[in-house]
Amino acid sequence: MSPDLMIALLTGAALFGIGIYGALSQTNLVMIMMGVELMLAGALVNLVAFWRFLHPDSYAGQMFVLIVMTVMALEMAVGFGVAIARFRAKGSVEMEEAQALKG
Amino acid sequence: MNSLMVILFLLIGAYLVAVLESWLTNGRLHFMAPAWSALSLLGSESVVPRKPDRLFFETAPVLLLMAALLAAAVLPLGPTGGIADLATGALFINAALAYVLVALLMAGWGPNGAYGLVGGWRFLGQTIAYSMLIVMPLTGVAMRAESLLNTDIVLSQQVVWNVIYQPLGFALFFIASLAVSFLPPFDLPTAKGDLAGGVEAEYTGPRRGVFRLARMVLVVSLATATTVFYLGGWLGPVLPPWAWSAIKILVVASAMLLTGHFLPRIREADLLAWCWKLGIPLALLNLLVVGIVILI
């Protein structure tokens, strides 16, 4: 049991929890996206830690980090696209007001 | 020791650049001008605007200086390298330069003033325009050196400098480095004419001094980067390496200052359009050509 690995994994867990809190509690679309970014960051920390401490010779781990970073960028791009469209249509990105999918 | 030398080098460079700039703006070569203006800035009253975001207001100039210094830290001035010779040096420069944007955003937001804010946001638009033009030419350079180590990059230019090997990349990188250091014609964030100094507008006294210094260091850093990546770094006959570095850096820096002097300011919307519609295709073309030349 290495303290380094533990610290990294706990950091990841903490960031993940903060991210969940943020994504669920915020009313603003952009803030929700920040929560999601934090969750992904938690995943990133874990990935790097696993690569470094468990499989330093397998570069698929680093590869995975790159893909997650790509996903973060994608999330930003699409999220902001939606935010702009929403802002144009309604004048705000408060998610309390978005109920079009109500069943 | 080495680090100190490099910092000293940078500071001297920054001072010389400031001399050059004052020469260009005032039309008189006056070696003491920057020193006098620095002294006057230190001595003048330091005004803090009403209701600032104090944290950002105070840290922004320092962060700018840090970013510029960090960018320079991985650039070798001689065969023994600079402060650090990272295995990912060419990428690290990008990372450090990205914080120029952060610093300017903070400096724009911090003082709680309209001019600064507009200046900061303008620089964000400018960043989105130029950032690809830094990364993609650097990819071409790294391709030739088959390494991201900056010393390897310099050594790869022993026969032919990159400026001849990939002139297109050099041109794009040069333009982009003008944009990073918000020199004219890309001086939108500080645009003197229409924004009353932009992000600098609310800074007075020593803070403004730090800001100015940071910007000069930034110019020197970028000149160093251009030298390392495209002009063969310290390589050259007869003179010792550090001298070659110094000469090239000064030449590049004065070229950077001169270029903007004769061009009209470019709106950030136009800059965006040109960079994305023309610059990125050209950068890709550069990559393609370099790739083909390497393979042949």
């Binding site: 994504a23 509690s25 929700i32 998610m95 999918l101 069943g103 | -």
Partner: protein, 629 residues
């Protein structure tokens, strides 16, 4: 060679939007190159030369294109039909301003279909499957400004997508069970996985080949341009399902075969009736397509995929020529309703002759191609283990085919005519003539096909005679009696394409209502039975009043007891079973209301719920993993 077949139309599809000039010529060139290549492939296949192309795809799962006798045949068929349809489309689309888009999508579609036909492993088959789904969506919705067209495209896409999940699951099971993605290598699995795979493949084929109950999208797909319908319905999109089953046929276990045969049988009859009641020529043809694919599924279910292949080939030529003919009539009258087309055949006697020949071929009149293939299907059905069932379905389908084709012919021939000039008729006529002649003579090539594929094909004179009689009877009925009278009370249902049979909602709601009703009846009968026992006991007690007080009392007590039991049962029934049903209903309604409230549309609520659902799935997966590890 293999790559050329796919790359030529693909290149055309890429070139057309770039050039935006002479789209028809480019598309035609691509199709012609593809046609030559596939004919060459067929020729080499007949000399037992089978080239294959292996590309590195996923690790350990290379993508491959193979040429087997079946794939070479199908590829040639697709290329032939596609080229003629393109020739026809030159005329049909003459006045359309969006020609480049049309021809580009068409070429892309052809490329995707060739990839599907030639795919040698499940991964590339899956990819091609998706691509034809996409391109058919684009083509059906070609006139996207018309609301019906975009709706129809959406519906076709959703229906086929839903069924595609079957293919995904089947491919997963296949690869997991056999450890290889190569199609022949996966076909030797057996037991439980084989049954599961065959049912999953059936679901996929049901969606693509428009089998009951997923048939309704095909009728809607008529909203696209006619060449699209001709291509979709004959050799490509719809054929994909049948091709899938034909290629997987060696693996199908008896249970799967029976299911396939039954689905095919039901489809051929139901959609045959739909065609008989159709009021629109293109819808009639669409329903007929479903019906014919039902016949093919019967053949697969009977264990003779070769018969299905033959019918597929014949049907491709026939149905495309029928559609092309219908397109000419449509240009003549600007409508496709049968009422509006009354007498349209007389205006263009030559087109009508082609149409009629194709119709007769479809009905199965010798010596046209449809006769041979249908004969093979009927023979296969009669020789199978479930001869009674499948044979009846096959003969019924044949009868109906004759009937609706005769009906269409009669309507087209009878009625006053009006002469109008049709632009681009020469091109359309050329395409039509080529396809019709293909439909006529294809039957002569069947012996060669049989020897090429080397499959067992049952022959029986009885089947020939039965098939011919059924076809002739159908033709006679259709011509002299007409669809309306023939269908009688079914007419209304058939007009709506048996939506009851196809409507997913009705599928769930109806049976549950029926179950509820029968529960009620059962409970009523129980109650009656209990009363009936109690009643005689009471009568008995009353008539023996005088005999013995004890006995009397005892019997009365017994009677009361029974009576009480009866009443108790009744009450129990009323409150118990009735109440149970009512409670169920109430519970469902309440649950619905609650769930409706969950559906708040608020992103944070939904996020919480999806998170909770994810956790639940994770827990289930983890526990099942831990429990079985």
């Amino acid at each position: 060679m293999l790559a050329l077949i796919i790359l030529a139309p693909l290149a055309a599809a890429l070139l057309i939007p770039l050039l935006r000039r002479l789209p028809a010529a480019v598309a035609g060139g691509g199709a012609a190159v593809s046609l030559l290549a596939s004919l060459n492939l067929l020729a080499s296949a007949s000399n037992a030369i089978h080239p294959a192309l292996v590309l590195s795809g996923l690790p350990d799962m290379p993508l491959r294109l193979v040429s087997t006798p079946i794939t070479a045949l199908l590829s040639a068929m697709v290329a032939l039909v596609a080229s003629f349809v393109l020739v026809y489309a030159v005329g049909y689309m003459k006045a359309d301003p969006e020609k480049p888009r049309f021809f580009a999508t068409m070429s892309f579609f052809i490329a995707a279909m060739q990839a599907l036909v030639l795919a040698g492993d499940w991964v590339s088959l899956l990819a091609a499957w998706e691509l034809i789904g996409l391109s058919s969506y684009l083509l059906i919705g070609f006139w996207y400004t018309r609301r019906t067209a975009s709706m129809a495209a959406m519906r076709a896409f959703l229906y086929t997508r839903t069924a595609d999940l079957g293919l995904y699951a089947a491919v997963f099971v296949l690869i997991a069970a056999s450890g290889s993605s190569e199609i022949p290598a996966t076909l030797n699995i057996s037991g439980g996985p084989a049954v599961a795979v065959s049912l999953l493949l059936l679901v996929a084929a049901m969606g693509k080949s428009a089998q009951v109950p997923l048939q309704s999208w095909l009728m809607g797909a008529m909203a696209g341009p006619t060449p699209v319908s001709a291509l979709l319905h004959s050799a490509t999109l719809v054929a994909a399902g049948a091709i899938l089953l034909i290629r997987a046929a060696p693996m199908l276990p008896p249970e799967g075969l029976l299911a396939i045969g039954l689905v095919g049988g039901v489809t051929t009859v139901v959609t045959g009736l739909t065609a008989l009641g159709a009021r629109d020529l293109k819808r009639l043809l669409a329903a007929s397509t479903s019906s014919q694919y039902g016949l093919m599924l019967i053949a697969v279910g009977a264990g003779v995929p070769l018969a299905a292949l033959l019918h597929l080939l014949a049907h491709a030529a026939i149905k495309s020529s029928l559609f092309l003919g219908a397109g000419v009539f449509q240009h003549g009258r600007d409508t496709t309703t049968l009422d509006g087309l009354r007498g349209a055949g007389r205006e263009q006697p030559r087109i009508f002759a082609g149409f009629a020949l194709a119709a007769l071929a479809l009905a199965g009149i010798p010596p046209l191609s449809g006769f041979f293939s249908k004969d093979a299907v009927i023979a296969a059905a009669l020789a199978s283990d479930h001869a009674l069932l499948l044979g009846a379905f096959a003969l019924g389908g044949t009868l109906l085919t004759g009937a609706y084709m005769a009906r269409a012919l009669r309507i087209l021939w009878r009625g006053e005519h009006q002469v109008r000039h049709i632009t681009g008729k020469a091109w359309m006529g050329t395409g039509l003539a080529a396809l019709v002649s293909l439909a006529l003579v294809l039957g002569l090539a069947f012996p060669a096909v049989e020897s090429l594929v080397e499959g067992p094909l049952p022959k029986s004179t009885a089947a020939q005679i039965a098939g011919l009689v059924a076809a002739l009877a159908g033709l006679g009925l259709g011509w002299f009696v007409g669809g309306k009278r023939l269908l009688g009370p079914l007419l209304d249902q058939a007009r709506h394409g048996f939506v009851i049979a196809g409507g997913m909602e009705t599928w769930v709601v109806r049976p549950s209502l029926a179950v509820a009703r029968s529960c009620e009846q059962l409970e009523h009968a129980l109650y009656q039975a209990v009363l009936a026992v109690a009643h005689p006991a009471r009568l008995l007690a009353r008539s023996h009043k005088q005999i013995e007080a004890y006995l009397y009392n005892g019997v009365v007590a017994f009677g009361r007891c029974n009576d009480a039991a009866g009443r108790a049962t009744r009450r129990n029934d009323e409150q118990g079973i009735d109440g149970l049903i009512a409670a169920l209903v109430r519970g469902t309604v309440a649950l619905g209301t609650h769930i409706r409230r969950l559906q708040s549309g608020l992103i944070h609520r939904e996020l919480v719920m999806s998170g909770a659902g994810m956790v639940l799935i994770l827990v289930v997966v983890m526990t099942s993993l831990l429990a079985f590890a």
